[in-house]
């Protein structure tokens, strides 16, 4: 990974980043399809997510077993803090989603949840001005993506 990254500079690196982002979307999409089967056949969402997280942690522990102990010994504690809080925020998001779905139908909750890239963009503008450049093109593109996701989720949940 590091070797690939060091050979890529500027545009190439960003395009690889886009490729990984689409890879993440495909993985999340596959997990939604699997998750739907899990929650309808085997377990409530909270239990399904808890075990999926446990298995995910096990996979990552095996996949990156060479990096993890070294990084834990040598890396800055700030990194631990930010990533730890990120994990808590992400898990809290999943929990709130389940609470939302228990109080309102999918057709109401899905579009609300789909706006999360807009919230991320706003937070990035407020908190990451030193690290991130947000342009009108990025904002417009994000709006279109959110609109498309809302159309798809609404059409699926009402059909």
């Amino acid at each position: 990974m590091k070797a690939i990254q060091s050979r890529l500079r500027g545009g190439g690196r960003i395009w690889l980043g886009y490729g990984f982002a689409m890879g993440a979307a495909l993985s999340y999409g596959a997990s939604q399809t699997v998750g739907k089967h899990v929650t309808t056949e085997y377990a409530p969402p909270l239990v399904g997510t808890a075990f999926a997280l446990l298995f995910g942690l096990a996979y990552v522990s095996v996949m990156f077993h060479r990096h993890i102990p070294t990084d834990i010994r040598t890396s800055s504690r700030k990194g631990f803090l930010w990533f730890g809080l990120s994990g808590i925020a992400s898990a809290s998001g999943v929990t709130f989603l389940y609470f939302a779905l228990s109080k309102a139908p999918v057709v109401v909750v899905s579009p609300v949840v789909a706006i999360n890239p807009l919230i991320t963009l706003t937070l990035a503008h407020l908190l990451l001005q030193r690290l991130e450049r947000i342009t009108k093109r990025t904002i417009l593109g994000t709006l279109l993506v959110v609109l498309g996701v809302v159309i798809i989720t609404l059409s699926r949940s009402t059909s």
């Binding site: 990084d71 309102a104 996701v149």
Partner: protein, 142 residues
């Protein structure tokens, strides 16, 4: 109303999560960062599952665990790791809208594997998403 409020809280939590990953990547590589983000999440959600659904645990079958393993692979191993790498390489503002297109892929997979039908709304949504992605990625192509 409460459902909408919880939905907004979920979206806000995920927004903060992406920002925190961006901050964390200044100090730790994505591999270890992914592991560090999964650990507290796992403890939190497992605790909540034990509190809210304690009676479900003894009834879980071996097949259920195979499905949990598959879900964990896609969502929390591959998805979370790709997510962190993409934020590191493309930045949080450009990567987040791209990986939030997951419902599109879920729908495509449902059409292929679950026999769901292709509707005009699905086509409209897909075209809109592709236009959005083209706008975001063209930023760098110029």
């Amino acid at each position: 109303m409460l459902g909408i409020a919880f939905g907004l809280m979920a979206a806000t939590c995920w927004g903060f999560s992406a920002i925190l990953v961006r901050l964390g990547l200044q100090h730790i590589r994505p591999t270890t960062g992914t592991w560090l983000s999964l650990l507290p999440g796992c403890i939190l959600v497992m605790s909540l599952a034990l509190i809210f659904n304690p009676d479900v645990f003894p009834e879980l079958t071996a097949v259920a665990f195979l499905w949990f393993a598959l879900s964990g692979l896609f969502n929390f191993a591959l998805g979370r790791f790709f997510n962190a790498v993409s934020i590191q390489m493309a930045g949080v503002a450009r990567a987040t809208p791209l990986f939030s297109t997951a419902p599109l892929f879920a729908t495509i997979l449902a059409v292929i594997f679950l026999g769901e039908s292709i509707t005009p709304w699905l086509i409209a949504g897909t075209v809109t998403i592709v236009c959005g992605i083209a706008l975001i990625t063209s930023e760098q192509a110029r």
